[in-house]
């Protein structure tokens, strides 16, 4: 087919589109309202966390063993960013929906899709603008980190950045879901209901289904909040990052499929199926990626270094059969303290539940309930312990190797700190909100320089 027109419209530069999308996000009240709400919520959480951390630190002043259990990641960072997480879950969808919903409601979408940009480019620009809004929204939480450092608090770069990455991925996932909801819904209100149904539904999955056996356990893993937990534990999981990115890309692609009003419903459905299949395949593949880096300063996700090195030398398959119901708290302890670490430390580990449908109520009469069987190199042993201090010697015994000598030193010292955190309250309740209001006011001013050019007909 020959070109329809010699003077056809060429693809335009991305810059104007990105600028337009950024102004679109900044011009709305949603972002600024969210920021103003974030200030007291994050501030209160930070003050509470530092106060409690200070009380624990005071108790540990005379006991170094207690001090080694004081980690700023658990004591300050996770609670402070927990407040950010709650606000992002409930309010960030409104910021993201606005990026598309307003154009759809007003009919401006019919102009937008005629611009010389591909529809995926339009959605990517909106996602980029919403990501920029996330970076603005995280300012109160970042200011809390700065205050913590100012009080003399310790921050470990890797675990802090890992936590920030987790929250960024979570924010982008919420944004992508919100954009998709805005693309399929007729109004912003409906899009908000859809998005909140997903985000709040995740909480319900978390609370109601976690620890339940069988299908419920699998469904509970779909919860969005599950995506954040490894980052809060100081674990950089490659598979999780890939899966989350695939989910973000999938929802963004679905938004692109449903955005154009000129595409027939049947075509949208077919394309949606293809997108879901592709994204689902990537997510499923990513769940098989076991590579994970323990970035926590206290190495809570790993065995001691000497044991890690020794376990890496055990090449044969290790089969672990657990006689516990999934909802049994001992299973959770075993998974956290032993199984997850073994899966990361050894190349070939298979963990299976003796009965996937087993429940605590029906298993108390089973004499083997609570046992865990370890099979390595044709030899087997059983234990009821959930501590690596008992399991690792058992494994070395099965493998016929001596337990490694522990490395000297290198123990996590802990970072106790008693700070006068009340001094931070004026920042979160006064100074920061005023700065946000000033920034809001600045964003509302008309663009004077461009205006002069226009008024003078380009002769300025």
């Amino acid at each position: 087919m020959r070109s329809p027109e010699a003077a056809a419209v060429h693809r335009a530069a991305l810059g104007p589109l990105l600028v337009k999308e950024l102004w679109g996000v900044v011009a709305g009240r949603a972002l600024w309202t969210m920021l103003l709400i974030l200030c007291p919520i994050v501030g209160y959480s930070f003050v509470q966390a530092v106060s409690l951390y200070g009380e624990a630190s005071a108790a540990a002043a005379d006991a170094p063993v207690l001090a080694s259990g004081l980690s700023p990641l658990d004591g300050v960072l996770v609670p402070t960013f927990g407040a950010f997480y709650v606000t992002v879950t409930l309010l960030f969808p409104f910021v993201a929906i606005r990026a598309l919903g307003r154009e759809k409601e007003s009919g401006t979408l019919r102009l937008l899709v005629q611009l010389p940009y591909r529809v995926p480019t339009l959605v990517a620009a909106k996602l980029a603008a919403v990501a920029a809004a996330w970076f603005i929204a995280i300012v109160p939480a970042l200011s809390a980190l700065a205050l913590w450092a100012g009080f003399g608090g310790h921050l470990h770069a890797a675990e802090t950045l890992n936590l920030l990455l987790g929250h960024l991925l979570y924010g982008l996932l919420i944004a992508a879901i919100a954009l998709f909801a805005a693309a399929i819904a007729e109004s912003s209100a409906t899009a908000a209901i859809i998005t909140l149904a997903v985000t709040i539904g995740s909480w319900i999955l978390d609370f109601a289904l976690a620890g339940q056996p069988g299908l419920f356990e699998w469904i509970s893993r779909v919860s969005l909040t599950q995506a954040l937990r490894p980052f809060e534990q100081g674990l950089f999981s490659v598979g999780l990052v890939i899966a989350t990115l695939a989910a973000i890309a999938g929802f963004a692609a679905l938004a692109a499929v449903w955005l154009h009003p000129g595409v027939a419903l049947r075509d949208k459905l077919v394309r949606s199926l293809l997108v879901v299949a592709a994204a689902g395949a990537v997510v499923l593949s990513a769940t098989q990626v076991r590579t994970a880096i323990d970035v926590a300063e206290d190495r809570r996700n790993s065995f001691p270094p000497a044991d890690e090195r020794a376990l890496k030398e055990l090449r044969e398959p290790l089969v672990i059969t657990v006689h516990l119901a999934p909802e049994d708290p001992r299973y959770a302890d075993l998974r956290r303290n032993v199984l997850a670490k073994l899966e990361r430390a050894m190349a070939n580990v298979t963990v299976r539940l003796a009965s996937s449908g087993q429940s605590m109520v029906g298993s108390t009469s089973d004499p083997s309930y609570g046992e865990v069987e370890y099979v390595y190199g044709g030899r087997s042993d059983r234990s009821r312990s959930t501590s690596h201090r008992e399991i690792l010697p058992l494994l070395y015994g099965l493998a016929g190797v001596p337990p490694p000598a522990p490395d000297p030193g290198g123990d996590y010292p802990g970072y106790p700190l008693v700070a006068k955190v009340q001094a931070a309250l004026p920042w979160f309740l006064g100074v920061l909100p005023i700065l946000i209001i000033l920034a809001w006011w600045w964003s509302c001013r008309p663009p004077r320089i461009r205006l002069r050019h226009l008024e003078e007909g380009g002769k300025a």
Partner: protein, 248 residues
């Protein structure tokens, strides 16, 4: 591929820019467009005439590719023009739209100018041509209906597309403003762009359009110049209103 449509001897000399063939659109059991066919000639101002609900907007949106049609073809200079490429040559300006209404007028104009690579001088010329200078510092939602129309017109003029589809371009203007805009649109057509205007005010259409498509109930009831339509209706020297009533 050709479509059997009436052709005006006046515009026959100018090449056919676009051919619309058997365009059909249904909403459940209601037929909004029933096999609409017509041609658009380069440089003409073609009026799409019909009462409210006759299918004018549906036709423009289906041609522009922002509404999926159930059937029909569009040729551009005798070559098929798929939906995905229509935005390369056609720009459709919807009716009653306040684009990006929370933004300042100057920012919306600057965005369109940047997207289509217009210089500041071209942007300034467009602003002056449509008389938007007094409201550049206002937000779009604060504009009156007339200025809102002017903004939309300015956006259309900033695009480089050879064919503009304008839905009710005179709605919201008073008599004097309507005449100004008509003069402006005639100048745009003289400069080589082709215009298809959906108009329900027949007097306005009669003043600005070269040819007319009479649309009623989603079907074409007549195509041609006013003289040709008079002849088809077997009427003497009467206005477009009488011709329209006679043919629909």
């Amino acid at each position: 591929m050709t479509f059997a449509v009436a052709r005006s001897p006046v515009v026959e000399r100018s090449p056919v820019l676009m051919q619309v063939g058997a365009l059909t659109k249904r909403y459940r059991d209601q037929t909004a467009l029933a096999g609409v066919s017509f041609e658009v000639h380069a440089g003409e101002v073609l009026g799409l005439i019909g009462p409210n609900g006759s299918g004018k907007t549906t036709l423009l949106e289906a041609v522009a590719g922002v509404l999926p049609a159930d059937a029909g073809d569009i040729l551009w200079r005798d070559a098929p023009l798929p939906v995905g490429r229509r935005r390369d040559v056609i720009f459709y300006l919807p009716d009653g739209l306040r684009p990006w209404d929370d933004q300042f007028v100057s920012r919306v104009l600057a965005f369109f100018a940047a997207v289509y690579g217009r210089s500041e001088e071209e942007l300034g010329d467009t602003v002056r041509a449509v008389g938007l200078s007094p409201v550049l510092g206002k937000r779009v939602l604060a504009l009156s209906k007339g200025y809102g129309r002017r903004l939309m017109l300015a956006l259309a003029l900033l695009t480089p597309h050879p064919l503009l589809l304008l839905d009710e371009p005179f709605d919201g203007f008073d008599l004097r403003q309507t005449r100004e805009v008509m003069t402006l649109l005639r100048r745009v057509a003289t400069n080589g762009r082709t215009l298809v205007l959906a108009i329900h005010q027949l007097a306005d259409a009669e003043r600005v359009c070269d040819r007319f498509i009479l649309l009623a109930g989603g079907a074409v009831r007549g195509i041609g110049t006013l003289a040709e339509l008079r002849a088809a209706a077997k009427l003497g020297t009467v206005g477009l209103e009488e011709v329209f009533l006679a043919l629909t």
